[in-house]
Structures are given as structure tokens and as C-alpha cells.
């Protein structure tokens, strides 16, 4: 669904091939893991790797099938998988999520979420009416606060507040 004005980044064929190779390797890894623990029969019946081995085998076989289809079917496969501009937009969302996930163990879920939301809103300045600082602060802190209230207080599922959160807790404890 890439734009007609958008220059194509990569043909569908290559993505198909890449994914098929990935799933084939995945199947291989599963088979290796299954062989390690035994795929035969023991005194108590089939061993633990018996079933997973065939799962891995089927996975690899079906992947190879997909690979062959991707190589054979010419016309549909040469179509663009994604346009340059569209993929840029996808990356503009995917990379921040990756950073957010990496930052989470250190900054904690609350802080990381608040910063993530604030940054996302701040970035969207080219709109006709950019968000004010007050709105950004209210929404990002409000979302973090709401998740604290709902998860930690209401449902008693404590969320990781990260190294920084632990530090705050230690300082708070020593002040008492």
C-alpha cells in the first residue's frame, strides 16, 4: 500500500526470501535443540525432543517451499514491498519504540513511558497547531500516573520502576 509517488525501497521478493530463510533457520535451531535432548524412544515412551523435532522439520520444509515459490513467481514478487518514504515513517516509530524498550530496565516503566510519550508529541511539530508544553507535560505525566494507579494500587501488579526508581525509594527510605 505504498504511495505511487514513493520510490520503491526493496522488491517483495527479497523480503519474502529473507523471511523464509529466517523461518527455515528457526526450524533448524528447533531441530538441533530437539536432537540434543533426544528424539527417539526411551523406556517411558517418546523422549522430550520427539515432537519438537518434527515441528522443526515441518517448519524448515514449509519455509523452503515458500522460498522456492518466492523465486519462481516473477510478476507479483517484483512489486515494491514498501516505499522509501513509507518505510521511513515505519522506522520513525519503530526505532523510538526500540530505544524505549532498551531504556526501560534503567529508567523504569513510568519514567521511560512519560519521556516516550512527551517526545512523540514534541516531534509532531509540523502540524498546524503544535502541542503546548503544558499539554505535553499533562498527557505524558498523566499517562504514567494513571498506569501507576491502575496497576500498582488497584490491581496490585507492581511495575518495575528501574534503577532510578530504586534509587528514589532508597533515598526516600533514608529520609524517613
Amino acid at each position: 500500500m505504498s504511495n505511487t509517488t514513493d520510490t520503491p525501497l526493496v522488491a517483495t521478493r527479497w523480503v519474502e526470501i529473507g523471511l523464509a530463510l529466517f523461518t527455515a533457520v528457526l526450524g533448524g535451531i528447533v531441530m538441533v535443540g530437539a536432537v540434543e535432548i533426544g528424539i527417539g524412544w526411551s523406556d517411558t515412551g517418546p523422549e522430550a525432543g520427539y515432537f519438537p523435532f518434527y515441528i522443526g522439520l515441518l517448519l524448515s520444509a514449509a519455509s523452503v517451499g515458500n522460498l522456492i515459490l518466492a523465486l519462481l513467481r516473477t510478476p507479483t514478487m517484483s512489486a515494491a514491498f514498501v516505499g522509501r518514504k513509507a518505510f521511513g515513517q515505519v522506522l520513525a516509530v519503530f526505532l523510538p519504540i526500540t530505544l524505549y524498550v532498551i531504556a526501560m530496565p534503567f529508567a523504569g516503566i513510568y519514567l521511560a513511558s512519560a519521556v516516550f510519550i512527551a517526545w512523540f508529541m514534541w516531534r509532531d511539530r509540523q502540524r498546524s497547531k503544535p502541542y503546548g508544553i503544558a499539554l505535553i507535560a499533562t498527557i505524558s505525566c498523566g499517562a504514567a500516573l494513571a498506569s501507576y494507579l491502575i496497576f500498582s494500587l488497584w490491581f496490585k501488579v507492581p511495575l518495575d520502576s528501574g534503577v532510578l526508581g530504586d534509587l528514589v525509594a532508597v533515598v526516600g527510605g533514608s529520609l524517613k
Binding site: 500500500m1 505504498s2 504511495n3 517483495t12 523480503v15 519474502e16 523471511l19 523461518t23 528457526l26 535451531i29 528447533v30 535443540g33 530437539a34 535432548i37 524412544w41 515412551g45 517418546p46 522430550a48 525432543g49 520427539y50 515432537f51 519438537p52 515441528i55 522443526g56 515441518l58 517448519l59 514449509a62 519455509s63 515458500n66 515459490l69 514498501v82 513509507a86 518505510f87 515513517q89 515505519v90 520513525a92 516509530v93 519503530f94 519504540i97 524505549y100 524498550v101 526501560m104 516503566i109 513511558s113 516516550f116 510519550i117 512523540f120 508529541m121 516531534r123 509532531d124 502540524r127 502541542y131 498527557i139 498506569s147 496497576f151 490491581f155 501488579v157 507492581p158 511495575l159 518495575d160
Partner: protein
Amino acid sequence: MSEIDSLMQGMALILTPHHIGLMVIGVLLGILVGVLPGLGAPNGVALLLPLTFTMEPVSAIILLSCMYWGALFGGSITSILFNIPGEPSSVATTFDGYPMARNGQAGEALTAAFTSALLGALVGVLLLTFLSTRIAEFAMEFSSPEFFAVYLLAFCTFIGMSKNPPLKTVVAMMIGFAMAAVGMDTVSGELRLTYDQPWLLSGLSFEVAVIGLFGIGEILCTVEEGLVFRGERARITPMTILRTWAKLPRYWLTWLRSALVGCWMGVTPGGPTAASFMSYSLARRFSKNRDNFGKGEVEGVIAPETADHSAGTSALLPMLTLGIPGSATAAVMLGGLMIWGLHPGPTLFVEQHDFVWGLIASMYLGNVVSLIVVLATVPLFASILRIPFSIIAPIIIMVCSIGAYSVHNSMFDVGLMLIFGALGYLFKKLGYPIAPLILAAVLGDKAEDAFRQSMLFSDGQLSIFWSNPLVGSLTTAALLMLFWPLLARGLKALFGTRQGQARHVS
């Protein structure tokens, strides 16, 4: 009749302020996830699961199932007002729902959609009420080979009936099975496929896969397509509702046909999406107003909505009686049942009588509650979609991350969610189906147990799957389903040439 008695008991159990409150909350949350892009019924239920661990199973299933109904209703709101299906199963509703809204009949379209949804759901619940006990009794006689044959039938139907390429369905399904195998082997207690990595010891949970594949993957697809919300205004007045209701009875035949299609597709793993498309095309073929379809014909809204909801509800029939979910959402709920310590399958009806009938009773009430809530809150939820994407997207991503984290309180799961998100984006763009992966991840261990026990009985002979008429016909049906695409092509070729000849003769 004993079903009526049990139903009354169930009603008595759920008619408490606490449970009715849970229903309203569930429906509201459900409409919310149905309306928001990137969230849908399967990951809405997966996100809510960790919060139900401390609840009573009956309360938890009421909350989750009402969320499911709410999400189905919410999907119709966005289809009709914004031409954006909130759920895959409401794609067919956009064909005539959005044109109606553009013609200024948004109120009529929404009322017709919600009402036929309720009627469709009620047919599904009736089916569940009167068939479930019988099927459960029948399935009580099953032993491992029969159970494995039923699982096989479910999986093969997915491969054979799916619109996606069969090999891609197999790949998705096998990834799910491999996921389920990671961690402790349920039979021998041995650790497997962990490759000495400590973070793999506890296994890979299906909730994380659901949240990543459906949630993050969906967001990435939405971003790529460039989101444009151009919504039509909706004003639902009591007069509109009454006027639409007065018109509805004349469509009874469409309604009946769609409900039957829905029930059939819900019980077999065709799922609500296939049901709504099929019902729409049947309605178009048989309607007197055929030419008006696609331009805003109310029948084109009634048909997919009825089928969608009756499939959604009847998907719970095989889930409760056989332990086989008919849709992705039902698969997630089944996983929830196992986490609460219940064993889905025929024994559930004996051991957990209150739970089963509480759930069935709540489905009658929950759907009526849904209709009232959804009619009252359409403007509110329509305005949520007018919130800019740069605010709603990060919040959805935050909710997904917290959901993935709270499954096991582990940061590793959040990273896993991200990987599944990227995979979900590729899967969606390349036509790999997601539902079979989830189904296999949830059912993998049970299917494997059944298979290994059957192999134990037979000393490794596959002929045990044809050892008696019941298991034999199940296995044969499964293989027929698996090769259905090839068979259908063969039959078509045969009939095609015959018709061609007939035309020649005339």
C-alpha cells in the same frame, strides 16, 4: 429441562451488582480496544489477563468475555463512521456501512448494526446453551487419540480453509508450536529448547506474542499506510432507533441465514472474519436490492454484523466443550482458563458447573448490556478517534509494553514483544496469518500430550488414529480439510469442463 435449570442457576450467580459492574467495565474497555487502531479483541484480552489472576474465575471470564463483545461492537463503530475496520471481522461492514453514513444515515446504520449484532449473538448463545452439555457428554468418551484427532482437525481446517497461502499458514502454526515447546516438558519434566539461556527457562508466553503481533505489528502497518481519519458525524436519537427497529423485521431471512453461517463458521475454526465476508456475499447474491449493495444498503450492514457476532459467540462452544478455540480471541481466553487452573474440555462441565453456566448466563446479559452501553456511548468513542495519532500511538505502545511486562514481571518479555511486533509487520505485509500461530502456541502442549500418549498406547504406530470409527473419521476429515484447496481445484476443473460442454450442447 436440565439446561434451563442450570441456566437459571447461572443467572442467579451473576445477577449481583459486582458482576453487572464488571460487565459494564468489560464492555467499555472492549469498545475502547475495538475502536483504537492497533488494539483489538485478542490483544485487549491478552492485556487484561494478568490483572485477572487474583480474581474469581467466574468474575474474570465475565470481564474478559464482555470485553470481547464490546470489541466486536466497537469494531462496527469505526467501520461505519470512519471506514476503518477496528477489527478484521468488521471489514465487510464498511462496504455498506460507510456509504450509509456518508448519505447521512449514520444513526440508522449503527442501530441496524448493533441490533443485528445482538440478535446474531443471541443465536450463538442459544446454540451454546442447548448443545454444549451434549457435546461435552459425547466428548467425555474421548481418549488421547480422539483428542489429538480433534486438534488435528482444527489445525488442518485452518490450513485448508484459510485465504492465506497454505505453506505460510504452516510456517506460522509451526512457530507457535515451537514456542509452546520451549521450557519445561510437561510429560517428563525435562527442560528443552532452552539452549542454556536462563531467560528461556520459563518458556515463551503466548500473551507476549499476541500483544506484539497484533498490537505493535498493527501500529507499524497503520503508520506505513498513513493514517487519515475522515469521520462522519453520528447522532443517535431514540426516534432514529425506533424507526430503524420498525424497519428491521422485514430482513428476517437475511438475519436467519447470516446467523446460521456465523454459527457454522464459529464452531468450525473459520472464525468471525470469514463468516462476515461469506454472509455479505450471500446477502448480495440473494437480495432484491442487489444493485444498491456497496452504495449504502442496510441489508449489507445487517448480514455481516449478524454473522460476525454469532460466529464470535459460537466460537466459545468448541472452546468450552473440547478445549479448541474457534477464533484468536477465544484462543487467548482459553489460555486464560488454563492459567486460572481450569481444564477446558468436557470435564469442565462436571467439575466447574458454576463457572460454565455463569459464563453462559453472562453471555445473554452481557450482550444486552453491550447494546445499551454502545448505543449510549457512540459519540464519546467516535470522538476518541479524533484525538491525533501522535498522542494515541505512544499511549497504545505504552499500554502494550506494560501488558507484556506484567505477564511474568519480566523486561525480557517486553523485548520479545518488540521482536514479535517486527515479525507481525512482516507477516501482515507478506500474507502470513497470525491466528494459527496463537492457536498453536496456546494448544501446543495439549496437542503434544495427546499425541505422545496415543503413541504410547500404540507403541509408535500411527495406525492408532484409525483404530476405531470415531477417531478414524476425525482423522480422515482432518486430512480432507488439509488437502481441500487441491481437492476443490480438482472438482472445479471437473465441473468447469462439464458446464462448458453443457453450454456447447445448448
